[in-house]
């Protein structure tokens, strides 16, 4: 894989200013995507996966706002800040203004596949016209050429009889077919990066199988890099090259897919892998992670997973561990003080169960 990184995200922070308090949905997330690579972003609901994805295209509307960090795509800065003299932060001068972001990045360089096929297509417009409009907008082709490309791409994603189906309406398509249209929209704009926000979650398991195969073939064919967001470890195993595991707004482990499954280091990743039922092997007893993911308004003190972590020690309460590299070329990073002698983790004693809850007073049961 060529070494050039096309998307880099550093310390991204997106918060929601709600009446109940500031929800720190994404709280310091850093990762990158290389050309032609599929990077996975996995975590349970409430971990902040989708918000991270939407922040990349600055699709976060109020009460949400990107408050910190830096997002660069090739050499263009999608989001960046700099400090004023008096310490307050302001927009970085070469951060793209809305108009340039809209015309140069959205759709033409970075495309997005959404989760809910039922709600992502405009019910009152023909399918073909919706695909053609995006092609016309993001590639300088004539209206006629755009229609040709639209029909070809619809065929390529496996929609039978695209010439006629071109003028059908979304309600005449099944869930699986609509998802194919969304995929056709993404690929037909020939972007460098496609962000897929749980595209197969709402689909039947057989249709999901077909869609995953389709995406893998098209990805190989066009060498488009992918940022794949999902909560399903099986999809990660199926498609991704490198994986970021998210928990409560932070990335707690980064690794290539084989290391993640065979040699997971962070207790949360291990527990997650142990708690999923598998179709290929009979499991006697699942070993679930106790408790519930806490709210993001006042996250637990120190390491955010300590309230549910089987190997939590007292030292875990002191620091919120950064991602540290387990090997030199930083292929496998983990945010857990177990792997960092300086933190005195091994000296401090086990954390009792009740103690964890009192500390944060979380009433999860």
């Amino acid at each position: 894989m060529k070494e050039n990184i096309i998307l880099s995200v550093k310390d991204l922070e997106t918060h929601f200013f709600t009446s109940g308090g500031i929800v720190r949905a994404v709280d310091g997330v850093s990762f990158n995507v290389k050309s032609g690579e599929t990077v996975g972003l996995v975590g349970e609901s409430g971990a902040g996966k989708s918000i991270t994805a939407r922040s990349i295209l600055r699709l976060v509307d109020s009460p949400g706002q990107i408050v910190g960090g830096e997002i660069t795509f090739h050499d263009q800065m999608i989001f960046g800040t700099q400090e004023r003299a008096d310490g307050t932060i302001e927009r970085h001068p070469d951060m793209l203004d809305d108009e340039t972001l809209r015309t140069q990045i959205r759709g033409s360089k970075i495309a997005m596949i959404f989760q809910d096929p039922m709600d992502s297509l405009n019910p009152v417009f023909k399918i073909g016209d919706q695909v053609r409009e995006l092609i016309e907008l993001n590639r300088d082709v004539t209206k006629y050429e755009a229609k040709e490309i639209a029909i070809e791409t619809l065929r390529e994603v496996g929609i039978p009889d695209p010439e006629n189906r071109y003028s059908d309406y979304p309600h005449e398509f099944s869930g699986g077919m609509r998802q194919r249209v969304l995929i056709a929209m993404a690929f037909s704009c020939q972007p460098d990066l496609i962000i897929a926000d749980e595209p197969t979650t709402a689909l039947d398991v057989t249709v999901e199988g077909e869609i995953l195969n389709l995406v893998r073939d098209l990805q190989k064919k066009y060498n488009t890099s992918f940022l794949w967001i999902t909560h399903d470890m099986a999809v990660i195993a199926e498609l991704c090259d490198r994986v970021n595991v998210m928990y409560l707004g932070e990335i707690i482990e980064q690794a290539n897919v084989y290391d993640l499954f065979d040699d997971a280091h962070h207790p949360y990743t291990e527990a997650l892998l142990k708690s999923i039922p598998r179709p290929d092997v009979s499991i006697e007893k699942l070993d679930p992670i106790t408790g519930v993911m806490p709210g993001a308004i006042n996250p637990p003190q120190g390491c955010r997973f300590h309230t549910r972590c089987p190997d939590a020690h007292r030292a875990c309460l002191d620091t919120n561990p950064p991602l540290i590299g387990l090997d030199e070329n930083e292929q496998h990073n983990v945010a857990c003080i177990k792997y960092d002698e300086r933190t005195g983790y091994w000296e401090s004693e086990e954390l009792e169960n009740e103690e964890r809850n009192q500390i944060k007073g979380i009433n999860n049961v």
């Binding site: 759709g107 709600d119 907008l137 993001n138």
Partner: protein
């Protein structure tokens, strides 16, 4: 099913409704305590027994109720709405056709006024949510929904009629009326001008309530559409804000508006009764009031039926418009 078949079925469906209207009105009329003949003949002629009997006979009032209803029904099917008691001798259909255009013009003008104002107002207030334009639009629509239409009429008369003397405040000459009988107009064109000048104040009075109601619905429909998935998608693909508003959001946001307009027609007809009284326009509204006061059975039946027909045509038109805009309805065929 093609558009034609859908319209045919929709009209077919309205027959029971028309039937229902006539039964309800007929029942109400016959519950009236006072005797129409007494009003018709007036006190002096009441003396002779035969005069009463003859009048009853002539108008077939002595048969039992259901027979009278059937006769009326048979006559209506052949297009004869019977003869009015109060305007003795004049056939009901002529009377109605004489008064109908004024009401139709008024109701139509009030819809044009209300829609042409409310749709842009609703869209702007949705687009600039919680900004100044939104608050102003919401205040206007709140007041509009809460003001009695006839009171607006009175206020308009005071301001534009008496003080500023810009606009005429009573009567509504028809555009096809002959110039001689229309004050201040020689040529037919000037008659048309007079019609328009007379139309302004009543249209505003009748249209305000509808304009306010449609603005509120247009705004909430637009807000709902703006945070749906497909708007998110086109935004992510770099479609400009203006195109999103003008093309993607607008068409979907019209659906609830079309339904409400259909339902408001009967409200508008009801309102025209009040506005015609305030601006003393000789429309169907005032005709029905005089008919009811005079217990003029055939005239009441005729006018109520016409009200029903106007309403049903309105609802069918809005249904077709809805089916035209929303492909999912596709004229009742398999979707």
């Amino acid at each position: 099913m093609s558009l034609f078949r859908y319209t045919f079925w929709r009209l077919l469906q309205t027959i029971p409704a028309l039937f229902g209207i006539s039964i309800i009105t007929f029942a109400l009329i016959n519950a009236m305590p006072s005797d129409p003949v007494a009003i018709m003949l007036g006190p002096e002629q009441m003396a002779s027994e035969e005069a009463i009997e003859a009048a009853r006979e002539r108008h077939g009032l002595n048969q039992p109720v259901h027979i009278r209803y059937l006769n009326w029904l048979v006559a209506v099917v052949q297009g004869d709405l019977g003869v009015s008691f109060y305007y003795n001798g004049v056939s009901v259909s002529d009377k109605i056709l004489e008064r109908l255009p004024a009401t139709l013009l008024l109701v139509f003008a009030s819809f044009v006024f209300s829609i042409s104002l409310s749709i842009p107002l609703g869209i702007i207030s949705a687009a600039r949510r919680n900004k100044l334009a939104d608050h102003i639009a919401r205040i206007i629509s709140l007041i509009g929904v809460s003001t009695p239409s006839f009171w607006i009429g009175l206020i308009l008369i005071i301001v534009f009629g008496y003080y500023l003397r810009w606009l005429p405040i009573s009567g509504l000459p028809m555009p096809y009326a002959d110039p001689a009988r229309v004050s201040g107009a020689e040529t037919q064109f000037e008659v048309l001008l007079q019609t328009l000048r007379h139309l302004i104040l009543p249209t505003i009075a009748l249209g305000t309530l509808r304009m306010a109601a449609v603005t509120r619905i247009q705004r909430s429909a637009m807000l709902e559409v703006l945070n749906s998935g497909y708007i998110d998608l086109v935004k992510a693909y770099g479609v400009s804000g203006r195109t999103i508003m003008r093309k993607h959001a607008l068409k979907n946001a019209q659906l609830p508006v079309i339904t409400i307009i259909g339902l408001q027609i009967s409200g508008a007809l009801g309102g025209s009764v009040l506005i015609e009284t305030v601006f003393n326009i000789n429309g169907l509204g005032r005709l029905i009031i005089t008919a009811i006061e005079a217990q003029d059975y055939p005239l009441i039946m005729g006018t109520t039926l016409f009200f029903g027909i106007i309403f049903i045509i309105g609802v069918v038109v809005t249904d077709i418009a809805y089916a035209y805009v929303d492909p999912r309805v596709s004229y009742g065929g398999e979707s």
